[in-house]
């Protein structure tokens, strides 16, 4: 468990303290995939670097499994960092070392593993990230996705309990992003590793995260389970991110709504109700006619969800609302 207790960070610029992270309380549970989403400069990079103290905080306490890491001396800190893997946007592999040597590097630095242990572990990791055939290549000979897989294998070498991902998919194309995210999800499930992932893409959060914190200007403005935050965003920044990820033009949508007749509802289905043939039966029971203005069915991590914007004309609206709620559908009246 990672606990932030009034953690803050500011930088001294020309004698003035510029805050990068305002005092923040936050808890990340063991074994969850926790997303931090924000625009560049929102402070998410700082926040993730506080967890392994690449950036020391200027105030507050950071507790990892009930131990305050801000009090560590340099050698304790180095030992602690071996238990926290990190992967990066630009991979940060050593260009002078082969794939196998890159993966072995953190184990060699630790100085507590025998040569045969290192060799075995490297082989195991190469297999896990499907790069066994590339063991003796140099990073420059690999594609972006392969480089990030080397980065992941390297981060896992010393069997960490936490994995920090700093915009790990931002330099990758959509297809490669998908495969890297799947690898991260597998690792999380199979090893029970806690993953803290920062990104500026809500889509990444939607696919792999359990919970998410939204950051804006050095503050966490919204935090909660991904389905909550994603389907019912409260803060304007969060809404921007969600609309962006669904490629919705907000103004265009408003214009479309203006043209529609009757009441406008937004229905949110989650889990099993997504696949129920609900609209037809509700229409029959309530006598309401509806047209679909916009709609989307997708997944949040492994949970299916659907979101429909409907305009309803005639019939008994109250009956329709009751029917929706009885079917466990979240209803929001837009007009």
């Amino acid at each position: 468990m990672i606990v932030f207790d009034q953690v803050q960070k500011s930088y001294q610029v020309g004698g003035r303290a510029i805050p990068a992270l305002h005092p923040t309380d936050m808890t990340i549970e063991t074994g969850e995939v926790f997303g931090i989403v924000g625009h560049s400069g929102a402070g998410k990079s700082t926040l993730v670097r506080l967890i392994n103290l690449l950036e020391p905080p200027t105030g507050g306490r950071i507790l990892i499994d009930d131990e305050d890491i801000t009090g560590y001396n340099p050698s304790e800190l180095r030992a602690f960092r071996r238990k926290v893997g990190m992967i990066f946007q630009h991979f940060n592999l050593l260009s002078s070392k082969t794939v196998a040597d890159n993966i072995a590097f953190p184990m060699k630095l630790a100085g507590i593993y025998s040569k045969s242990e290192i060799r075995e572990r490297v082989e195991e990791l190469l297999a896990r990230v499907s790069l066994t055939d590339h063991a003796n290549k140099y990073p420059s000979q690999l594609s972006g996705g392969q480089k990030q897989r080397v980065g992941i294998a390297r981060a896992l070498a010393c069997r960490p309990t936490i994995l920090l991902c700093d915009e790990a998919t931002s330099a990758l194309d959509p297809q490669t992003t998908q495969s890297v995210l799947k690898l991260l999800a597998d690792i999380n499930r199979e090893l029970g590793l806690t993953i803290v992932l920062i990104t500026h893409e809500m889509d990444v959060v939607r696919r792999v995260c359990d919970r998410v914190a939204v950051m804006d200007a050095g503050r966490v403005v919204e935090m909660g389970p991904v389905s909550e935050v994603f389907l019912h965003p409260q803060h304007p920044t969060t809404r921007d991110f969600v609309f962006e990820s669904e490629s919705i033009d907000h103004e265009e949508l408003q214009e479309d709504l203006q043209k529609a007749n009757g009441r406008i509802l937004r229905l949110t289905f989650k889990g099993e109700s997504t696949y129920q043939p609900l609209l037809g039966s509700v229409a029959r029971k309530s006598g309401v006619d509806f047209s679909i203005l916009s709609g989307r069915i997708d997944h949040i991590k492994d949970t299916p969800y659907g979101q429909l914007t409907l305009s309803l004309v005639g019939g008994d609206l109250d009956v329709a609302m009751q029917e929706f709620e009885a079917a466990d559908v979240h209803v929001e009246v837009l007009r």
């Binding site: 960092r81 071996r82 990066f88 050593l94 590097f105 953190p106 630095l109 630790a110 010393c158």
Partner: protein
């Protein structure tokens, strides 16, 4: 042909070439041994680096700049008393080596500093995140990553030392430069001058070629 090169004593040329090789080789060795740690220190103590130390950096940087700003011909002369103290003579091949190192080491140190700065900061950060200490970051990440740049720096330093070594002929340093000055210049033996210059050109070409090959071999980018 014989008449054209009537003044050339080939065994003399051979010895002078050997002397130049020894002067450049020895001074290069010491320049690297002294310049490399100074270059690493310059890098580490620099602004926003691992061991940021403004005062240490300023002092080190000042000493390096002073040595680099003195024209080598002056450095040769200024160094004489120190050279005598150090190895007992300021003449010959041995006498030329201390001033060559004094000129070569700070030059090389700057080149090392520059090539270390070229190493991606992300790599240093990643190595830190793995729990490396400063020594491990230097020897495990920084130096291997900067190796091609450092080899290119050694090549440039070696070539600079060839020309410095030739200059040391002025204070009786020996080698091809000494030959060129004593015979080619003072006795107007143009043929000796042409041969020594030709040999120096070949020497530099070979150094550059070998250096480039090594850089290529160690570049994995």
């Amino acid at each position: 042909m014989e008449a054209l090169l009537s003044n050339v004593d080939w065994s003399e040329i051979g010895w002078a070439s050997w002397d130049t090789l020894v002067m450049v080789g020895m001074s290069l060795l010491f320049s690297v041994l002294i310049g490399l740690p100074i270059g690493v220190l310059l890098f580490l103590t620099g602004k926003r680096q691992l061991l940021e130390q403004p005062v240490a950096y300023a002092v080190l940087s000042f000493v390096v700049n002073v040595l680099r700003s003195v024209p080598f011909i002056i450095l040769l002369i200024v160094m004489i008393p120190f050279t005598v103290m150090l190895i007992g003579t300021s003449l010959g091949v041995a006498g030329a080596i201390p001033p060559l190192v004094a000129g070569g080491a700070p030059f090389f140190a700057r080149l090392v500093e520059t090539s270390l700065r070229e190493v991606d900061r992300g790599i240093i950060e990643a190595t830190q995140a793995m729990g490396a200490n400063v020594r491990q970051i230097i020897f495990g990440a920084l130096l291997p990553e900067a190796l091609p740049g450092i080899i290119a720096g050694i090549t440039v330093t070696a070539i600079t030392l060839v020309s410095y070594a030739a200059m040391s002929g002025v204070i009786g340093g020996g080698g091809l430069g000494d030959l060129a000055i004593r015979f080619g210049y003072q006795r107007f033996q143009t043929d000796v001058m042409v041969i020594t210059v030709a040999l120096l050109v070949i020497f530099v070409q070979v150094l550059q070629m070998v250096g480039d090959r090594l850089v290529l071999y160690f570049s994995r980018k």
